[in-house]
Symmetry: C2
Subunit: 351 residues, 2 copies
């Protein structure tokens, strides 16, 4: 045999089938859970926070976040290959700009709470997707016990509420910029969790006051978060259960990732309650992972609806057209659909 | 309040931070496990096989694969949005070409066995990535019990062996095209599982004979697969345990996704055994998820190495340079690295 094997040069895509159809996309998506989990574990281990003060060599970084040498280097280099970390010539690892800003726990721009929630609950709950599809019931803690059950476990409660802030922050900042807040004075966020939304709105608009409405056990978490953000003079907590009580009165009500948790009669009930709580000319801002009307352009929203299948007893996401129709039925007019960020879309209506 | 709310037009990316850094990539990867799981569940439910005879309306398709109406439409439309299914004007779902070819169980080009393996084992095992990173030990069935343990459970055994074929098929077809097989007569695949590799090689090259080497309990599976492919006259099974026995003699030995399972001394032992089994001028073809030498360009390979952390007691992937050095040390020359497909890379050496 010759020392020089004639072979074609490096393949980046295969063409095994006669018609040149490749399985690349299938394998790319099929294996994508590993990318997710590597990022989620990096957040859990505090890799990006550990790099918040500057680059570190691999050994120091592994020791600081508590990674065993066996997989440590592959893990950190996977984060480089996935474009979360940079690795300099001296072999020192550093946060890339997005991770420095959004995944360092010590920064107010931290959105990692959302990823912590994915890591602690949703990644695991999605193991049961097939079963949920077969039965129409996901069997997660939330689907079985509701929010009261979830909130009864302190660790789950904190992870959940912080996760809500992680997911809300970008939508809140987008909404702070995109809505004519100067025309309104009083805004209340319904199902507020930590209060990320009212804090971001009040921070951006010095004339705004109001607060957040949620179950009574959320109050200390909300109060603490608002105080840490120096907004206790303008934002207060409104305790209540929107399933059994009226919503508090305000010029603007926000319902972010609330409607998607519930069945259609409850969705409509909440919209009617919002209409009752608003004055003429007041605004309701609903936002969720709203599905595009053609149901084919936003995979994230359709997958979010499967998440509701898994995580709730009867929740689902919905299209902009569906939401508009329900809002008109509840007494809203001039409804418009507005994408806030790649994940969240708002439906805004005037009372 | 005006009926016309002046708001900026649809956001496709947010720019909440002063410097315009977006968290889009972070959220895209953080949520990517949902895309994976939707595809893996679709394969498990047989969606693509059910569409193998032509398009079906949603209701018929859901009934045929056993999906409950609650999440069914969102699930199918998510598969449309993820570019696995098409949905025509009449609302009928159809396989896109890659899924028709590779995910219909009745076709010889089916690679879904690989996804079934991800679905049944790896997605779940990756729940424990953080723990594996902390301890250096994954705790999966394979890591704890080895192949004998895995093979003792019939259902696991079948899923595993079929999964190996799913992952091997594309590499095998690429290798059938890319290597100068006309110079050799006898090829044996080491750790052959069902025998996907020798079957593809023998199918493409009528002069080739040989077979597959694996643990004795694999024999009936191998024999059946070879018989179904009409190759029993040229391919036979070689039973043995490469940890304790010599490798069978052949002109070409293939070791696909074998070395990555083991620690470095065992990797080197297997390479020495291959050198002993080959004649002068014989070839060893190793293929694995080989890592690029800079350890930054192939996330799939680095993540595959984390998979070895989780799934094996001491395995890891390795770079082309590392493999070349080990092969030279074992007595091989003229070693070249060749990417077979987006997942698999070969290191080929001459005895």
């Amino acid at each position: 045999m010759s020392a020089h094997i004639p072979m074609s040069s490096g393949a980046t895509s295969i063409a095994a089938a006669p018609d040149g159809v490749s399985p690349d996309h299938i394998f790319d998506i099929g294996f994508a859970f590993r990318k997710s989990k590597a990022l989620l574990s990096a957040v859990e281990l505090g890799v990006f926070t550990a790099l918040g003060d500057g680059p570190l060599d691999g050994e120091t970084l592994m020791a600081r976040v508590g990674i065993h040498p066996r997989g440590g280097r592959d893990f950190l280099d996977a984060l480089v290959a996935l474009h979360f970390l940079d690795r300099g010539e001296a072999g020192r690892y550093a946060n890339l700009p997005d991770c420095a800003l959004y995944l360092d726990r010590r920064k107010s721009t931290y959105v990692g709470g959302s990823l912590e929630l994915l890591n602690s609950y949703l990644y695991v709950d999605w193991v049961h997707l097939t079963q949920a599809l077969r039965t129409g019931h996901g069997g997660s803690a939330l689907a079985d016990g509701g929010y009261a059950g979830l909130y009864a476990d302190r660790a789950s409660f904190d992870t959940f509420l912080q996760g809500m802030s992680g997911t809300s922050l970008i939508a809140a900042r987008s909404l702070a910029e995109r809505f004519p807040w100067h025309r309104h004075e009083m805004v209340i966020d319904v199902g507020t969790a930590q209060g990320c939304m009212p804090v971001e709105l009040a921070r951006s608009h010095a004339h705004l006051r109001g607060g957040g409405f949620d179950l009574p056990q959320v109050e200390p978490i909300f109060t603490d978060y608002v105080r840490r953000n120096g907004l206790s003079d303008r934002l207060r907590f409104y305790p209540g259960d929107f399933m059994h009580e009226d919503l508090p009165k305000a010029d603007v009500l926000v319902m972010g990732r609330i409607l998607h948790n519930w069945d259609l009669p409850t969705k409509k009930l909440l919209l009617r309650k919002a209409a009752q709580a608003l004055p003429d000319g007041g605004a309701l801002i609903v936002y969720d992972n709203i599905i595009d009307d053609e149901r084919r352009h936003r995979p994230h929203s359709l997958l979010a609806s499967l998440n509701m299948l898994i995580e709730t007893a009867a929740g689902f996401e919905y299209t902009g057209s569906e939401c508009s129709a329900w809002m008109r039925e509840a007494g809203f007019r001039d409804i418009r659909i507005e994408q806030l960020d790649p994940i969240s879309t708002a439906a805004i209506g005037i009372r």
